[in-house]
């Protein structure tokens, strides 16, 4: 037995001697305590990258557009049922579990974090301002959709529950942030870098909608807020950086970083470098037999289409651009695609998968059950396809703020402050460039329609409909809805973990 004790102690000595400390070592990542080498520029790039979820068929776009009167994602027989997610959006019958709504909420707050995180790493004055702009933009979108904006002051410990900024309080926070950073943002430079005019445009959005955030069901608009909108618009104009584009679709073309004379803030897309999924804007609507073949989904509603005059280039034109196809028949290739579609290389008339003419019909239903279910619905192409980069990263920068929007916001503010005539001038100046006949008078409905014609599928429709009080109305496929739908539900996956959130009424 004595021997055993000796051997045992020897064994234990060996074992203890060979003990390891068990510290994790990272080889393809960096650890926080080891993060001195991280530069704010690297984090800022990541913060910009989080914004790519804004693009068409991104969560936020789906929430803002499919829920409105200018877009529909019909279930086409065997296709696009997707467990009813799209129908729930269009009929506003969503609940707190809706994937796209919770996806949008989480994605925006992810942007908020990524932007805030830049501030932890000793950014330069401009870097800090850019990050705070991104954060303000994300928080603003959360305010707009959900009214409750979680805000993390101290990023060091995830156990600290974020405070929640609500309604006007959140709007005021966004305003104060934007004002604080204004002078630190670049006055010039590319549209895909946060800049002073982008901050002004965002401020205009906040002021224009502030009445909504105070009372969504019956908003009133303070004269001071409207005056701010006008002032900011004039400041943007005064920078002389923007002009209304003679060719509407130049703003969205593959080279829109150069040709897009209206673009104030965009998301950078560059083949061979990086970018978001701007191609989805084509794929989401394009029929399988078109070039590029797409997913044959989203359409617009015929009532919306009918608001355009035939001469209005925004409704659609033959748009010749260097990255386009030969298009020998000079067929309409942008805007609202309706009727027979053509092969843009050979000009042959296209057929659907059953051999019937590929001719988009104005009528479309939320559930398509007819023999022509492949071709129902007018399709919308806002971003001209970048054919040299087919099936690859497209070069079209994705537009968030545009000068035409600024002008229409100004017109609306003038109108709301009683200066309909002043507003009319602004609107008609714009319409003239677009090829539309001048309006004779400006009232809220006319302005609302004009915003629709100008900004369709750019992600602002839900907000506009709420501001103009039409969001709960009836349109194709959608019954009247109650005031609870003016807010999205707080996603159940956040509600269950964040005690500082309360579910919005009606959910």
């Amino acid at each position: 037995m004595k021997h055993i004790k000796i051997w045992l102690s020897l064994f234990l000595t060996i074992v203890l001697f060979s003990c390891t400390k068990l510290d994790e070592r990272f080889r393809s990542e960096l650890e926080q305590n080891n993060s001195a080498s991280i530069t704010p520029a690297q984090l800022l790039t990541s913060a910009y990258n989080t914004l790519y979820d804004y693009t068409i068929q991104g969560n936020l776009w789906n929430a803002s557009e499919i829920s409105s009167d200018e877009a529909i994602a019909p279930t086409r027989g065997p296709d696009w049922d997707d467990n009813g997610l799209w129908r729930a959006l269009h009929t506003q019958a969503w609940n707190a579990d809706h994937d796209y709504l919770s996806g949008a909420f989480n994605s925006l707050l992810g942007s908020e974090f990524a932007a805030s995180n830049v501030l932890q790493f000793n950014p330069s004055v401009q870097q800090a301002a850019e990050a705070r702009f991104i954060r303000a933009l994300s928080m603003y979108e959360v305010l707009d959709g959900w009214d409750q904006v979680p805000y993390r002051e101290d990023l060091s410990n995830y156990k600290i529950t974020p405070t929640t900024l609500k309604g006007v309080e959140a709007a005021d926070f966004v305003v104060s942030e934007l004002n604080a950073i204004m002078s630190d943002l670049p006055a010039a430079g590319p549209a895909y870098t946060a800049n002073q005019n982008a901050a002004r445009a965002l401020l205009m959005k906040v002021y224009l909608n502030k009445g909504v955030y105070a009372n969504r069901a019956a908003p009133t608009f303070a004269a001071a807020d409207m005056a701010q909108v006008v002032t900011l618009a004039d400041q943007i104009t005064a920078t002389n950086k923007y002009s209304v584009n003679v060719k509407f679709f130049d703003n969205f073309a593959p080279t829109n970083d150069v040709t897009g004379t209206e673009n104030i803030f965009t998301l950078y897309n560059q083949n061979g470098d990086k970018g978001g999924n701007v191609a989805a804007s084509t794929f989401a609507v394009s029929h399988y037999n078109m070039n590029p073949g797409g997913w044959n989904g989203f359409s617009t509603l015929s009532e919306f289409y009918d608001k355009f005059e035939a001469t209005d280039q925004r409704r659609g034109v033959y748009y010749a651009y260097p990255e386009g196809l030969a298009n020998p028949g000079k067929r309409q290739n942008v805007g609202f695609l309706i009727g027979q579609q053509y092969n843009l290389t050979t000009d042959a008339a296209l057929q659907d998968r059953k051999g019937a003419p590929l001719a988009f019909t104005p009528t479309v239903a939320l559930r398509e059950t007819g023999n022509n279910l492949e071709v129902t619905g007018i399709r919308v192409i806002k971003y001209p396809y970048d054919y040299p980069h087919k099936d690859a990263q497209q070069n079209n920068d994705y537009v968030i703020f545009r000068y035409a929007d600024v002008l229409l916001m100004k017109a609306e503010a003038l109108l709301r402050n009683g200066d309909a005539a002043g507003g009319l001038v602004v609107v008609n100046t714009l319409r003239a460039v677009r090829g539309a006949t001048p309006l004779l008078a400006l009232d809220p409905t006319a302005l609302y329609d004009e915003r629709g014609r100008e900004l369709y599928w750019e992600g602002w429709r839900r907000q506009d409909q709420i501001r103009f009080g039409t969001f709960l109305g009836v349109w194709n496929g959608k019954p009247a809805t109650d005031a609870s739908r003016l807010l999205f539900p707080i996603p159940s996956n956040q509600l269950s973990v964040n005690p500082n959130l309360t579910q919005n009424p009606g959910y």
Binding site: S18, R25, E29, L30, L43, T45, P78, G110, L373
Partner: protein
């Protein structure tokens, strides 16, 4: 010292006295049943300690007292025999292989124990009881063979991955796979297989050659698994490979060849039926006037060849076994195959005069080569090659007339991919090389105490070469072409020190104690490059990837966060009077993964057992031969969450860095507390034996990647949930020796497990079960939610078709989803029988699972009515009392949720023992084996034994069938012999 001297002198005198007593000489030979001379067998006179050993020709000569009546002949691995020598001077002894002896010792992790000393729930399957046929990985050998063990071949692909669940699923998020240990080397569960885009992944255990495996022991309850601590919660599977037997070198060889065909074809419309359907639906287009069976065109009669040769031999102090295997398994889908070349070397040496120094050296070297097709589950709406074949319009030719070209005819629809083109224009080659080497010296410090070291390295490298031809009409690839090259490596290192103490302390008390220390390190790296835009010049794109366009290129690389595990463990088995047994185990596991506040986890267990049949009142009872009651309780852990989850990490993007998570410093293992009560019995002269076990396993601190309070990085955080998962159940296994006569033996065995699974206390719900196909974007059909079984189905309720419109009717218009049953089987069944009549043998193995629901995603989204006019549909879609509208959306609902009950004749074999042919071939055995012979089920898909990949949000899924690689039915003939 003086005393010892005295003793020796006395002994010498005694021997001398003995030798001058009346003596006689007995000579003889010792042979195996197969007629092999056994060398080094021990021959002793009964009641005496001295004896002789046989020579290499098996002969011996021994002087015995004239009064000696019996000799004892013993040989490792054989039944010890006593033979009478009263009137004999020459004897011929034939020793039977002692299967009983092997079965009575069970490998229990860091040692072995007599089966009768066990207090835990352990199932042991010997090679002779393995499933018959050709298998690529060891887990398939025990399917249906052990109670409480679910093995699902996920698809029919050669080398397919499997789903293994021991006593149900106890983890929500992390792996539910058991820990596999190969000859004392714990495996990480990972593989260096690089994986391509069309690929479903294969079994990480494919590197093993099933022919080299001697036994598989499955540790199920905490008394058995707690010695594996933080990796024991999902059970432990111990694989023991064959060892050389002492004796002259022997070559044993086997060869088999088989043919495989599709076990079940799905019924789709023939060309004529399709034309009729078009007419019935008033469709004018869609008939191309021909008649084609695309599924036949992509499938084939596949040939499997398997050759194994092993050389074993040695002496009692130095044994070795060298084996080599070659498997060439063609898949039943054209252009798929798996080739495996494996070599195995094992040796056991004893050194020094006192033989106290032992040395085991093992080495396994394997290369697998696979050709994989595009049959992934996550392939988008144009489907994988199986879907493309099923959907192919039966009136349209696959090959363009007058050419050999797989036809991509826009007329059949631009989104329709010709399955033959998909096969020809898509290449995915996977190569994995594995070397596992271990060296294990041991030294007997005293007679009772042995020190042992195991040092092992498991090194794998994997290479992927993949290309998609520019001719294929895949979005993004057409007219461009694509190629990917990928590399992966895996290096696992193990150092295990153990001290074993085995002693009979008093006549009534036996002690078997183990103390150990273990260090494990897991290391993975990968890199890949992909590119596009290649010309067709008759070469493989991946061999000149530099031609590609700059902007199409993608690269990536990564190295795993170091994962190290350091453990201290101990076990003591006390046996009092062979009646009262107690086992205590304890393991402390330290892991780099755990948060700094919980670096070490502690896992104790205790088991007690009572061998009732050893009590005086049962000894020699003719009815009850063995009766043992077992009770155990213990805690085991699961630490299968990603490394780095406890720390804030920053990941790299292109020229950017972002924080990828919030680390949880409190993160730790999940703990399963298992109570097990069991009874082992054998009755009626041991003709009927079996076990019944009840277990209750409550898993707490459940590891989960929970939603984090936003704004936060990554959206999720790894936590130990306050909720719990409960698995409970009853396992019964029975074996009956129905007939055991000289010329006729017949055994029947079976096991049944009844499992219950429930999630409690989870806040909110989490979704998984990704359903696939056109119209199924972002559809998740399963939930993890409190009060329901794990992965409960959550779907719309289908109420039939509307008579007027032919559209589906759903409860509440489809706006409400319902909990619709569990995908986890409630009952597992294994049945097997074997029969020997003279030289004939026969064996049948069946298995089944019951009480669960499968989602037939193939029927739901691949073969729905909406295809009519462009693509094919399932025959079952037609012919109902209500004509389904062609526009009826194939929405995910209970319509395609089917009962998964099945009973499968997994394999059956008949054989004939030819015996020796001349002097060269000995022990010749020929057999015919069938695999997947038939399935009894109401499930309408390919095979109810299925689980295609459907995980989402990182949460594993089970029970979805989405156009899997179809199962094969195989017939093979095999021959075994020794030289």
């Amino acid at each position: 010292m003086r005393q010892k001297l005295l003793l020796i002198i006395t002994l010498m005198c005694f021997c001398f006295l003995q030798s001058i007593a009346q003596q006689k000489t007995v000579t003889g030979t010792v042979m195996s049943k197969e007629g092999t001379p056994l060398s080094d067998a021990s021959v002793t006179v009964v009641g005496q300690k001295t004896g002789v050993r046989t020579g290499s020709d098996g002969t011996f000569s021994i002087n015995v007292p004239a009064t000696a009546k019996q000799l004892t002949i013993s040989y490792v691995g054989s039944e010890t025999q006593n033979i009478t020598i009263v009137n004999a001077s020459k004897v011929a002894v034939v020793l039977e292989t002692n299967s009983q002896a092997l079965e009575n010792v069970v490998v229990i992790g860091y040692g072995s124990a007599r089966k009768k000393d066990l207090t835990g729930a352990v199932s042991s399957v010997q090679a002779k009881d393995f499933n018959k046929g050709t298998y690529t990985a060891p887990d398939q050998l025990i399917q249906g063979k052990a109670a409480g063990v679910l093995v699902i071949n996920n698809t029919g692909q050669p080398g397919s991955s499997t789903t293994i669940r021991i006593r149900g699923s106890s983890s929500i998020r992390s792996s539910n796979n058991p820990l596999f240990v190969l000859d004392g080397v714990p495996l990480s569960g990972g593989s260096a297989r690089a994986g391509g885009q069309g690929d479903n992944g294969t079994n990480p255990l494919n590197f093993m050659n099933p022919n080299d495996i001697a036994s598989i022991d499955i540790l199920k309850d905490a008394s058995a698994t707690a010695i594996y601590g933080s990796r024991g919660a999902n059970g432990v599977v111990l694989i023991t490979t064959k060892r050389g037997k002492s004796g002259v070198p022997q070559i044993s060889a086997s060869a088999s060849a088989g043919i495989s065909n599709v076990m079940k074809k799905l019924e789709v419309l023939s060309a004529d039926e399709y034309r009729k359907a078009l007419k019935d639906y008033g469709l004018t287009s869609g008939d191309f006037g021909n008649s084609v069976d695309a599924f036949d065109a992509i499938t084939r009669t596949a040939i499997t060849q398997n050759y194994n040769v092993a050389v074993g031999g040695g002496t009692e102090n130095g044994r070795y076994r060298i084996s080599a295997g070659y498997l060439d398994q063609e898949g039943i889908v054209e252009s798929t195959d798996l080739k495996k070349i494996s070599a195995n070397f094992s040796s056991n040496f004893k050194f020094l005069e006192n033989k106290r120094l032992g040395l085991d050296i093992n080495m396994l070297v394997t290369q697998t080569d696979e050709n994989v097709i595009f049959n992934n589950s996550f392939v988008g709406f144009t489907g994988n090659v199986i879907a493309q074949a099923l959907q192919w319009n039966p009136t349209h030719l696959l090959i363009k007339p007058g050419t050999d070209s797989a036809w991509i005819d826009p007329a059949v629809g631009s989104t329709t991919v010709n399955p033959l083109a998909q096969l020809r224009y898509f290449q995915d080659k996977q190569k994995v090389n594995t070397v596992i080497a271990s060296i294990s010296p041991s030294y007997k410090l005293t007679n009772d105490l042995e020190y042992k070291l195991i040092y092992s390295i498991n090194r794998q490298t994997g290479v992927l070469r993949e290309q998609i031809n520019r001719l294929l009409n895949n979005q993004g690839v057409e007219n461009r072409g694509a190629a990917t090259i990928g590399n992966a490596e895996l290096t696992n290192t193990q150092v295990t020190n153990t001290l074993n103490f085995v002693k009979q302390v008093t006549s009534n008390l036996n002690v078997n104690a183990t103390l150990g220390h273990e260090y494990l390190k897991y290391d993975n790296r990968f890199n890949f490059q992909s590119a596009q835009d290649f010309p067709n010049v008759g070469l493989n794109y991946y061999d000149f990837i530099g031609y590609s366009t700059q902007n199409s290129r993608g690269i990536g690389s990564g190295a795993s966060t170091t994962t190290e595990l350091q453990s201290f463990f101990g076990r003591a088995i006390l046996n009092y009077k062979d009646r009262y047994l107690i086992t205590g185990t304890y393991r402390a596991d330290g892991s780099t993964r755990f948060g700094k506040n919980h670096r070490y986890g502690y896992f104790p267990s205790i088991g007690i057992a009572w061998n009732v049949s050893q009590e005086d009142f049962l000894v020699n009872n003719s009815l009850i031969n063995n009766l043992k009651l077992r009770l155990s309780y213990g805690k085991t852990g699961n630490q299968e969450f990603p490394s780095g989850a406890s720390l804030n990490r920053f990941g790299f993007g292109q020229q950017s860095i972002s924080q990828s998570n919030y680390g949880n410093e409190d993160l730790k293992w999940e703990t399963s507390a298992t109570t097990n009560a069991g009874i082992d019995f054998s009755i009626f002269n041991s003709k009927l034996s079996g076990s019944v076990d009840y277990f209750y396993k409550k898993t707490t601190d459940v590891l989960f990647e929970q939603n984090i309070v936003q704004p936060a990085p990554g959206g999720k955080i790894w936590v130990n949930l306050p909720g719990n998962v409960v698995n409970s159940g009853v396992e019964i296994s029975l074996n009956a020796a129905v007939i055991s006569k000289k010329d006729l033996t017949w055994n029947i065995g079976g096991n049944a497990s009844f499992l219950h699974n429930e999630v409690n206390g989870l806040v909110g719900f989490y979704q998984t079960g990704a359903l696939q196909g056109q119209g199924f974007s972002n559809v998740l059909g399963q939930r993890v939610v409190a009060g329901q079984p794990l992965n409960v189905w959550y779907l719309r309720r289908f109420e039939g078709l509307d008579k007027a419109t032919g559209q589906s009717i759903y409860t509440d218009g489809g706006n409400t989803l319902f909990y619709s049953g569990s995908p986890n089987p409630k009952m597992l069944l294994g049945l097997f029988t074997d029969l020997t009549y003279k030289k004939f043998t026969a064996a049948i193995n069946m298995n089944g699972t019951f009480g669960h629901y499968l989602y037939n995603n193939t029927a739901a989204s691949v073969l729905g009515i909406g295809n009519l006019g462009t693509r094919n549909i399932a025959k079952a879609v037609l012919g109902g009392s209500i004509q389904e509208a062609i526009s009826n959306a194939p929405a995910p609902s209970t319509r395609n949720l089917e009962k998964g009950n099945y009973l499968k004749m997994a394999n059956a074999s008949i054989g004939y023992r030819v015996g020796n042919i001349g002097k060269t071939f000995r022990d010749l055995y020929i057999s015919v084996t069938g695999q997947n012979l038939f399935v009894i089920t109401k499930y309408t898909g390919f095979d109810p034994e299925v689980s295609t990949e459907a995980s989402a949000n990182g949460i594993p899924s089970i029970g979805v069938e989405y156009v899997p690689y179809p199962s094969a039915r195989t017939f093979q003939i095999g021959v075994n012999f020794t030289l």
